[in-house]
Amino acid sequence: MSHDDHHGVMIPAPGPEFVAHEVAHHFSTPVQEFQAGKLGFWLFLATEILLFGGLFAAYFYFHEVFPETFRVGGQQLDWRLGALNTSVLLLSSWTMAMGVRSAQTSQKSKTMIYLVLTVLGALGFMVIKFIEYSAKNEHGLIVFSELFSGYDEVTGQVAWFKDYHGVMKDVAHGHMFFAIYLTMTAIHGLHVIIGAIAIIYVLYGTSKGRYHAGYYLPVDLAGLYWHLVDLIWIFLFPLLYLVP
């Protein structure tokens, strides 16, 4: 926009390694800007929760209809890997919280260390997820190469569900648990990746000195998002790995 003549309020930088922040032109005060960003983001988090809410509704519905599928299917998942992933995420939530804290107190290098650690946590999570997925692939419970090959009218089975070891052979609609497992964890995994990208973005901004005690909204928001990703996993873990 070429309306450079409208200058907003400036928040001065607390030190030479930081840059000042200009409040957007349509806000009258920094507080207003901060609160608007916060409120908007909370609303966004609400929509994310509702999005997963649909998946949880499907989970509970089919858990009710095919309890056996979920019981036996749940046993096929390795709860130790799940638990490991849970701790990785919890840990990264903590590093994220520390990152936000140090941004609020204008500790630039500390912020960066914590953010890097959080990104590493996300990476670790994805690696473990990958190990889990390959195990499922080997047992034919989710054959990734056949994922899009459709449905076989004669056997009444989907192509990606081969069940080489026959663990689900006595269970009606055995693929259902894995379908829901795959859908939920894949969408969650996508959120992990988006969260990691957001953190890398604020990491870059931190390195440029944009965030400090006067202005740390983006770090705060990335943190909120990361906690949400964590929170959703806290629900996914017991529901999928420790099927009630």
């Binding site: 929509t47 809410g53 449905y151």
Partner: protein, 552 residues
């Protein structure tokens, strides 16, 4: 002048040459394409959604022409099925849901609360481009073979039919996020950017309505998002959640779909209520009757509407308890709406009623909405719905509310704020003719549909039993009249942009902040931050003398 904004004495200082405003302050293509100005984004929304309406209208005319003959005049059955699906999908997802919030909401709401812009301008621009992407994907889906599922995408047909369902599903996902971001933005704007003195109960009702809509957009749309995503997954890798061959449940799809789509009908209608609330007071020059009750009833509707989705599924074999609850709550939601309707009528009563074109559209709305809403109540009755479900009675009901009420309210708002948006007036005489044509044509189109519907004519029929032929013919003729009216409206509105007959500063004598800033508004809306000192809709503060002078 004694108004809400003593600091801004715009009416007497209006210069002869157009002063700088949001339309002419910058002119490059980039300054429009990347604008963060809510008014420019609103204008782009206006153009986009209007085009979607005209496209949907052309599909509607094709539907009506085809149904002239019992055996169908134009298309094969599969093609007809695609045409009505396109009509429904375009009208719902590309027109009614985004139209009023996206265009008039964007342009007027920040003015009304006295803000310089919406709270999150970049997100606002993103919403618009998501809408564009969704529209492009929808058109791409047509080219890729079309889709013939009906706008409801009921499983399992939508899982088996061999067409571009995945593309349109993802288009709806994208459009959903466009809608969510708009809603989110407006909630934050209303909470955080109100001008000093603009208390909650001094907010114009259009703002209340947009606010209630925004809550629905944020809370209901994600469920639609996940639903269409699951349909896409189902088609891509056979999840099995909705596919009965794999143990899935098609009725679960219906629950998911209507959990969104019922609140969605109020996402569509609440902004229309807002427009009507504004217009009845301005054009009757009388404070709105029962202001607080109307404001609260918007919120009440928003809440109850989450609990009635099952009334679209009375024939799907729900448990008796579910039927009981859904039917009961459906009737309940009619009460806050009835309060609104009566309050509007009471506002017109003993007013100083101006019969200009926005008011004519408003009166048409009040009459048509009474029919549309009351026939909804008929459908809410459990046993009667078992007869009327999926017949043309339902088709007529929802056109009375969606075309006859919402689209007409949209037209009303467009005529009302047109002088504000562009500083020019359209041809009032032609506007009145068009309004009459639309009113007559509309009723001629859809009244016969109530009759044939209650006599058993099912909907989504490419061919039909000859006993309904007369009603279909009447309906088709009505649609032609309606189409003529719409075409005339498009004509004089576009023409006014070239004729440039100058509008008054405060064309209708409104007292809300949108009429207090210069016309058309400058880039940052107000020359100085407005201070609100009066109660809302206090017409005694108007100085008719200055208004009169301004008009010469």
């Amino acid at each position: 002048m004694t108004t809400n904004t003593p600091a801004v004495d715009v009416q007497t200082t209006q210069p002869k040459a157009p002063r700088e405003n949001y339309l002419n302050c910058t002119t490059s293509f980039k300054s429009w394409a990347l604008t963060l100005d809510h008014k420019r984004i609103g204008l782009m929304y206006l153009i986009g959604t209007s085009l979607a309406f005209l496209a949907g209208g052309v599909f509607a005319l094709l539907v009506r022409l085809h149904l002239w003959e019992p055996e169908g005049m134009l298309f094969s059955n599969p093609t007809y099925n695609q045409i009505f699906t396109l009509h429904g999908a375009f009208m719902v997802f590309l027109f009614v849901i985004p139209a009023i919030p996206g265009s008039l909401g964007n342009i007027v709401m920040p003015l009304m609360v006295g803000a310089k812009d919406v709270a999150l301008p970049k997100l606002n621009l993103l919403s618009f481009y998501l809408w564009v992407i969704g529209a492009v994907m929808a058109v791409a889906a047509i080219v890729m073979g079309g889709f013939d599922t009906g706008w409801t995408f009921y499983a399992p047909y939508s899982l088996y039919t061999d067409q571009a369902v995945v593309t349109i599903g993802l288009a709806i996902f994208v459009l959903g996020f466009s809608s969510i971001f708009t809603g989110l933005n407006f909630i934050v704007t209303v909470h955080k950017l109100r001008a000093p003195g603009m208390t909650w109960f001094r907010m114009p009702l259009f703002v209340w309505a947009i606010y209630a809509t925004a809550i629905l957009q944020v809370l209901a749309t994600p469920v639609l998002g996940i639903t269409v995503l699951l349909v896409a997954f189902e088609r891509l890798y056979n999840v099995g959640i909705f596919d009965p061959r794999l143990g899935g449940d098609p009725v679960l799809f219906e629950h998911f779909f209507w959990f969104y789509s019922h609140p969605a009908v109020y996402i569509m209608v609440l902004p229309a209520f807002g427009i009507i609330s504004e217009l009845v007071t301005v054009h009757s020059r009388k404070p709105l009757f029962g202001y607080k009750l109307i404001a609260f009833s918007s919120i009440a509707i928003a809440i109850i509407s989450f609990l009635v989705w099952g009334h679209h599924m009375f024939t799907s074999g729900q448990s008796t308890y579910a039927m009981f609850a859904f039917s009961f709550l459906t009737f309940f939601v009619a009460i806050p709406t009835a309060i609104k309707e009566f309050s509007w009528v009471a506002t017109v009563w003993k007013g100083s009623v101006a019969l200009n074109s926005p008011m004519l559209y408003t009166l048409a709305f009040l009459i048509i909405f009474a029919i549309g809403g009351l026939t909804g109540v008929i459908l809410g009755a459990l046993n009667v719905d078992l007869h009327l479900h999926d017949t043309y009675f339902v088709v007529a009901h929802f056109h009375y509310v969606m075309m006859g009420s919402i689209a007409l309210a949209f037209f009303a708002g467009l005529h009302h704020w047109w002088p504000k948006m562009f500083g020019i007036m359209y041809n009032e005489f032609q506007a009145k003719i068009a309004c009459a044509l639309i009113f007559i044509g509309f009723n001629a189109t859809f009244l016969p549909q109530f009759v044939m519907g209650s006599r058993g004519m099912p909907r989504r029929y490419a061919t039909y039993v000859p006993e309904y032929a007369d009603y279909h013919k009447a309906s088709t003729i009505g649609a032609m009249i309606l189409g003529t009216g719409v075409a005339l409206m498009v004509f004089y509105l576009v023409a006014s942009l070239f004729i440039r007959k100058k509008a008054k500063q405060n064309q209708w004598g409104g007292v809300t902040l949108d009429w207090m800033c210069p016309t058309p508004p400058p880039h940052l809306n107000f020359d100085e931050e407005p201070q609100v000192v009066h109660e809302v809709y206090d017409y005694t503060t108007l100085d008719y003398e200055t208004l009169q002078r301004d008009c010469d």
